[in-house]
């Protein structure tokens, strides 16, 4: 079965929802957002901390996610969750599947807003055993904030970027202790205030110039071996390790289509890109702005001209 929409947005995170809200509000016709997760909102759904919204209207991640969904819906966009865009059925058509079965959705324009993710342990080629207790921040935050799962008792955080400090906060929120932050960089990649607060008030050591050389333990993680730049090694006892940052685009759909992704556009006329897919690891606000820009590109006569008035003008 094939269905037609005017604009199809893949991914209901900050970029996709912002793009959909702008397009629906500007009269782009039927604007539909697909998300493979059961709930829309993207990564902010499981960022329990503040720092979202604007300085005048500060929000936590989950509140921000709800706000994005409400804005898109009230603008007239359709948001469908639990639906996966599997592959391309044509230049501007995608095969999808969900509990209602398979469906092909054809559009005048498609925005890929499929986001980004952290590179996990295996992709980083960290040697050692394969015990339980190995996380990325994404999995850790969902485990703690969405499902209330117990993680371990002592966690090593790999990285010293903003997301690493968020992961440390999540570890503490779960009742576990942060053993150390470990980074190969020479200093923490966060504000001095943030770094000092963690080091002095929380007494979390920051090991710079240090790499995680091996994971230890059978069944459950028992520690990590770290290596300093001078070659010295040490073992940190822990039952949890969180690999943070090192974001890569979630680009399966783009690659399946053979599309190269540039900021905002792709190599295929009528297919646009926004958010973490184009700038992995940027903030939700940055992703939302790139969603707005993608919406503008879809609406622009020049953008439309490439594809013979791709989208109805208001």
């Amino acid at each position: 079965m094939t269905r037609q929409v005017d604009v199809l947005v893949v991914g209901a995170g900050p970029a996709g929802l912002t793009a959909a809200a702008r397009l629906a509000a500007s009269g782009a016709g039927r604007v539909e957002v697909l998300d493979r997760e059961q709930r829309a909102g993207g990564v902010p759904r499981h960022c329990a901390h503040g720092g979202f919204g604007s300085w005048r209207d500060p929000l936590t991640g989950p509140a921000y996610a709800r706000r994005l969904v409400e804005t898109a819906l009230s603008a007239g966009a359709v948001v469908r969750t639990g639906v996966t865009a599997l592959d391309w059925a044509g230049p501007l058509a995608l095969n999808t599947v969900g509990p209602a079965g398979p469906e092909t959705v054809e559009a005048r324009a498609i925005i890929l807003a499929t986001g980004a993710r952290e590179r996990p342990r295996a992709a980083r080629l960290v040697p050692g055993t394969r015990p339980a207790g190995v996380y990325t921040t994404g999995e850790l935050q969902q485990a703690v904030h969405l499902f209330g799962q117990r993680i371990g008792t002592r966690a090593v955080i790999v990285g010293a970027e903003p997301v690493s400090y968020r992961a440390a906060d999540t570890v503490r929120a779960s009742g576990a202790e942060v053993v150390a932050l470990v980074t190969e960089a020479e200093r923490a990649q966060v504000s001095l205030v943030r770094a000092q607060d963690a080091r002095l008030r929380r007494r979390v050591p920051l090991l710079t110039g240090t790499a995680v050389a091996e994971l230890l333990g059978h069944g459950r993680l028992s520690g990590v071996r770290v290596r300093r730049r001078d070659g010295r090694t040490a073992e940190l006892a822990c039952d949890t390790v969180v690999f943070t940052g090192d974001f890569v685009p979630e680009n399966e759909l783009a690659r399946r289509g053979g599309l190269s992704v540039d900021a905002g556009t792709t190599s295929r006329p009528g297919v646009f890109a926004a958010g973490g897919l184009t700038h992995p690891g940027e903030s939700a606000a940055t992703a939302a702005r790139s969603g707005a820009r993608a919406a503008a590109a879809v609406m622009r006569p020049s953008g439309a001209a490439r594809d013979a008035a791709a989208v109805r003008r208001p």
Partner: protein
């Protein structure tokens, strides 16, 4: 149907106990299940079947073309290959007959190919053919520069090793075999096993303990073989690499071993490995920086494009190598004991033939097995990309929308499949066990997206 994971063990005596629920032990249990008059149990130290060498190998269904002609291994691999291919088709175990190419990278290796072709003939394998350079590159356009020719072995296939062991165990349990997990055997004597969970009595003991088979053998006073764990580290590359390779790319074997291969997997990834490191530690299943560096160097030569893709997983398995160049299957009727030792990397392929051989030996040595029956076939959930997965089946989703509700996005695993695995005959004891039954959490994100949701389903099912 009895699978136990804790608590007291039955006090009544079994007729046969198989120690070890790897691919070989599970196949033997399945073979014994044909005899309804036998009380049979499998005891396993770990929390799942197939947790040792059986889960961490190269996942190849061999033809046996390069076995030692005339050996027991050569015979059982040859018989087992055909049997497993038929069993896989019947049971829904994914197999892809992609064929293998033994690639020669220098003149010496090129000169060795005709000898390997002759060896294949002596092993009763008649399909192997020499390929010139042009034919080789036509078959494998992404192969690195410098290859001179190849031996094409079209019968070599890739298979899902997890489903195979699980199918055997499932079928055995459904036909009355008891499976006791978390039940490490501390000591074995004639007719009596001391385990972590208490004693077990039996008439016959079958030692299929893989890496630990020599330890148990010594308990009974034998010094037939010594197991030297040979570690094989492997890198699983992202599914984006799958289009780079069509065959199993084997090196030409040298005195130093079979070497490092590049092979597609039935899950749609590409495998690079294994290393071959002789060790003393039977728990040394860790990967090493040196091992991974070496694999990547070799991989870059074989298939340069491979290294442009990410690693999805890294693992290491231990092969149960012995000082012998053949299987060591020995019956000791005076002790009602049979040892299945030295089953190396070919054990998966040969498993069904090993099982039949072992039960034949038991009968020849006095086991009264009583009447036999045909087993009810099992139908395992499909984990392979070459066959329709549930998310690709509108009929299945229409009947049960849970098969259209995807939880693990990288591997496209539905909530329905996870639910089924958690309620199956031999349910998983851990998230890794669930991954081996469904592929959930096994993809490129390694749980970034779905890890917590999958864990939630697992913990809910366990109560």
């Amino acid at each position: 149907m009895t699978v136990t994971t804790h608590g007291p063990l039955p006090s009544a005596s079994y007729d046969v106990i198989v120690i070890g629920a790897g691919v070989v032990g599970s196949a033997i249990a399945r073979q014994l299940a044909r005899h309804p008059g036998l009380r049979t149990a499998v005891v396993e130290a770990q929390d799942d079947v197939g947790q040792g060498s059986s889960k961490a190998n190269t996942a190849i269904l061999h033809t046996g073309f390069d076995a030692v002609p005339g050996s027991l291994e050569a015979r059982l691999v040859r018989e087992g290959a055909g049997r497993l291919a038929a069993y896989a088709a019947e049971s829904g175990i994914p197999v892809e007959p992609v064929g293998a190419l033994l690639v020669a990278w220098d003149e010496e290796q090129l000169a060795a190919l005709p000898r390997l072709a002759e060896k294949a003939e002596r092993n009763d394998y008649k399909e192997a053919r020499l390929l010139g350079r042009a034919d080789l590159y036509a078959r494998e356009p992404h192969l690195g520069p410098g290859a001179l020719g190849a031996l094409h072995v079209p019968g070599e296939s890739i298979i899902c090793p997890w489903t195979t062991t699980l199918a055997y165990a499932t079928q055995a349990v459904r036909h009355g075999v008891d499976l006791h997990l978390n039940c490490r055997v501390r000591k074995v004597s004639q007719g009596l096993l001391s385990t972590d969970r208490g004693p077990l009595r039996t008439r016959w003991v079958i030692n299929a303990a893989g890496l630990h088979a020599d330890t148990l053998d010594r308990d009974l006073g034998h010094h037939d073989f010594t197991v030297t764990p040979r570690r094989g580290q492997l890198i699983v590359f992202d599914k984006f690499a799958r289009a780079l390779v069509r065959h199993i790319l084997l090196p030409v074997p040298t005195a130093l071993g079979k070497g490092v291969l590049v092979a597609p997997t039935v899950y749609g990834n590409v495998l690079l490995g294994p290393t071959a490191e002789d060790l003393d530690d039977k728990r040394a299943t860790q990967s090493t920086a040196d091992g991974l560096t070496r694999l990547r160097e070799l991989g870059r030569r074989i298939l340069p494009g491979l290294l442009d893709e990410e690693a999805t997983a890294v693992y290491a398995g231990l092969r149960a190598a012995t000082e012998y160049d053949d299987y060591r299957i020995t019956a000791h009727p005076e002790q009602a004991y049979l040892a299945v030792g030295g089953i190396r990397s070919t054990g998966l392929t040969a498993s069904l033939a090993i099982a039949e051989y072992v039960v034949g030996q038991l009968r020849a040595n006095g086991l009264e097995s009583g009447p036999s029956r045909e087993l009810e076939p099992v139908r395992m959930p499909n984990l392979g990309e070459a066959f329709p997965r549930p998310y690709q089946r509108p009929d299945l989703i229409a009947a049960d929308p849970e098969y259209g509700t995807l939880v693990c996005h990288c591997e496209r695993v539905s909530r329905g499949e996870i639910r089924d695995a958690l309620a199956s005959t031999v349910p998983p004891g851990s998230l890794d066990g669930l991954r081996r039954r469904t592929r959930a959490r096994g993809g490129r994100c390694q749980g970034f997206y779905c890890g917590a949701a999958v864990r939630q389903l697992f913990e809910e099912a366990r109560g």
